[in-house]
């Protein structure tokens, strides 16, 4: 066992996801503390061009480029990672707590007889002890776990847990030729990534979320326009999704996605507990609601008590101006 750190890189539309740069930035901080090697693990098909942007973020960018890795599957990706981790014997493996990360890492940890903590939001080194911070009970409690094992520790982190620092390495690129096998019992018949929204909800820096106060699906257009201006995403409360005004993919909260953008704006969102559990780690929360007693104001940093339909058009124009000035 080394004390090295491997970061599993996720890609989307032929670029490295922001969440992966966050993990590399945190990985660097820890690698410097214990003078260990930091590896960026990039696997997929036709991905070699992405190594340039990764080089400043790791001592070594390990690349496995194989046609069988075009689409993510736990069997093929798991097989390649198993072989890589047996070769590099990292002490820490970081991944993102995304749909892919949740599917892949527990199975891999079980296979390698390692240990896994998922959905974490922080990590520190305390002497030789690794301490991992993880919210429990929908964020009502923060827990710190101390790891003392002598096997690989896998940690998946929520996107937006760490800031992206400027890369300062001149990483070496290492191409690994690894054959991968797939599970014959599983056949992918089709993949639909239609309507591929610009930013992943969990990764978005900016989220404007509509609640029941939006009164109908047609009124989400202005939220879409604001999200576009801010390069962010539209979210929705459970009531909105249950009324079929928006897709389930947009749902924020206990039974939907957990998000922590830099700026969250809730529009006509009452702030029921099952919703706030999914967004209360956002850096700055703004609530716009005509009911001054709406519970969302207990979670918000800033509030506007007014009719959303008079505020939103103005907000759109002013945000456009603000973005234009930068």
């Amino acid at each position: 066992m080394t004390n090295n750190i491997c970061v599993f890189i996720e890609t989307k539309d032929r670029s490295v996801r922001k969440a992966s740069f966050e993990l590399l930035s945190k990985g660097k901080e820890i690698a410097e503390q214990v003078s260990s090697q930091l590896y960026a693990i990039l696997i997929g098909y036709n991905i070699s061009s992405l190594t340039e942007e990764l080089k400043p973020y790791a001592h070594t960018v390990v690349v496995v480029d194989n046609e069988a890795l075009q689409e993510y599957r736990w069997d093929t990706y798991g097989d390649v990672l198993e072989k890589l981790f047996k070769q590099y014997t990292p002490y820490l493996v970081f991944g993102a707590s995304t749909t892919t990360g949740k599917d892949l890492f527990p199975r891999l940890a079980a296979r390698l007889k390692g240990y896994i903590i998922s959905d974490a939001v922080g990590i520190t080194l305390d002497g030789t002890q690794v301490k991992v911070k993880k919210p429990l009970f929908g964020g009502k409690i923060l827990s710190w776990f101390a790891y003392t094992g002598d096997r690989t520790l896998f940690v998946t982190f929520r996107p937006n847990s760490f800031a992206v620092s400027k890369g300062s390495y001149q990483g070496e690129v290492r191409l690994e030729k690894i054959e991968c096998s797939h599970d014959e019992r599983m056949h992918i018949i089709g993949i639909d990534k239609g309507g591929s929204k610009k930013v992943d909800l969990q990764e978005a820096d900016f989220i404007i979320c509509g609640g029941r106060g939006m009164k109908g699906p047609e009124h989400f257009q202005v939220l879409e326009e604001i999200a576009d201006i801010m390069h962010g995403r539209v979210g929705a409360s459970r009531a909105v999704v249950d009324s079929k005004w928006r897709e389930y993919d947009d749902q924020i909260g206990k039974s939907g996605k957990t998000v922590s953008p830099k700026l969250y704006i809730g529009c006509g969102v009452s702030g029921a507990l099952h919703h706030t559990m999914g967004m209360d780690t956002s850096k700055t929360i703004v609530a716009i609601n005509k009911d001054p007693n709406a519970p969302i104001f207990q979670y918000a940093d800033y509030g506007i008590v007014d009719d959303i339909f008079t505020i939103l058009p103005v907000l759109k124009e002013k945000l456009k101006q603000a973005k234009g000035e930068v």
Binding site: I285, V286, V314, A322
Partner: protein
């Protein structure tokens, strides 16, 4: 068709949770419920049985004695039988320990399909499904939103993947984790509740499943809880006043730029 459903009883989201003075333990108000995502697993099992009458639905959990209430809920919904693997002697929350115990139970019972919720609401780990599948050397599909049995030992599912949906055909036996949207879980009928109240739910000691304490301890020893703390509290909301919408929005933008520095 032999269907196994793994469930967890979790604290209700409204339950009060108090951190002990030494920050080492939690006191949870006695309000527990069947995990939200597990309801879809139980419902799907019942729907399979409605089509394939000779199916048997077995529900199992590794948990405290109180978990028997969640098991009764599943029988009230329509599950055939339920087992509690009692964690009193071995109160580990360690996912590898729990996965090892449940996988061993599955091996003893036999199964064609295993269903469980995509994650528990309390720890949000989303680990057990794929871990159990790995320990049993069977395929798993995460976060399914549609399931159809298309032949002898063959299932077609739709599941959530990064940025979209996939359609996958799997040869059984296999494990599926269930996502919201798969079905509408039924509310138990009064006859079901009566049946559940009378049902005998066997209690199993995990160490009778052919596992040694040493085996389980080797995982449990790797990790320990360091402390619990409350989330950082937010200062009270600053309500932005103004005569007109323009004035309010202008003030908000200024604050977001200059104070919060998020624009």
């Amino acid at each position: 068709m032999k269907i196994l459903v793994f469930i967890k009883q979790v604290a209700d989201s409204e339950a009060r949770i108090i951190i002990s003075a030494d920050h080492k333990s939690l006191e949870i108000e006695n309000k527990y419920t069947l995990n939200f995502f597990d309801e879809f697993a139980v419902e799907e099992a019942i729907r399979i049985k409605e089509k394939f009458k000779d199916s048997q639905i077995t529900v199992c959990t590794f948990g405290a004695k109180r978990s028997i209430e969640a098991l009764r809920t599943t029988i009230a919904m329509g599950a055939d039988r339920a087992f509690l693997i009692d964690n009193t002697q071995y109160p580990s929350e360690n996912p590898m320990v729990v996965a090892t115990i449940l996988a061993r139970f599955a091996q003893q019972e036999g199964f064609d399909i295993i269903l469980c919720g995509r994650q528990a609401m309390d720890d949000e780990n989303a680990q057990l499904g794929s871990m159990i599948a790995e320990l049993l050397s069977i395929p798993h599909i995460s976060a399914i939103m549609k399931l159809e049995i298309i032949g002898d030992k063959k299932v077609r599912v739709e599941n959530e993947i990064e940025g979209g949906r996939a359609t996958i055909e799997v040869t059984l036996p296999a494990l599926f984790t269930t996502q919201k949207g798969l079905n509408e879980p039924r509310v138990p009928l009064i006859t079901g509740v009566m049946k559940a109240m009378k049902a005998t739910i066997p209690v199993i000691d995990p160490l009778t499943l052919g596992l040694t304490k040493e085996e389980l301890d080797s995982y449990a020893a790797m990790m320990h809880l360091f402390s619990y703390e409350p989330p950082p509290s937010r200062p009270p909301v600053k309500i932005i006043e103004g005569e007109t919408p323009e004035e309010k929005v202008n003030k908000l933008i200024k604050i977001l730029k200059e104070d919060a520095k998020v624009l």
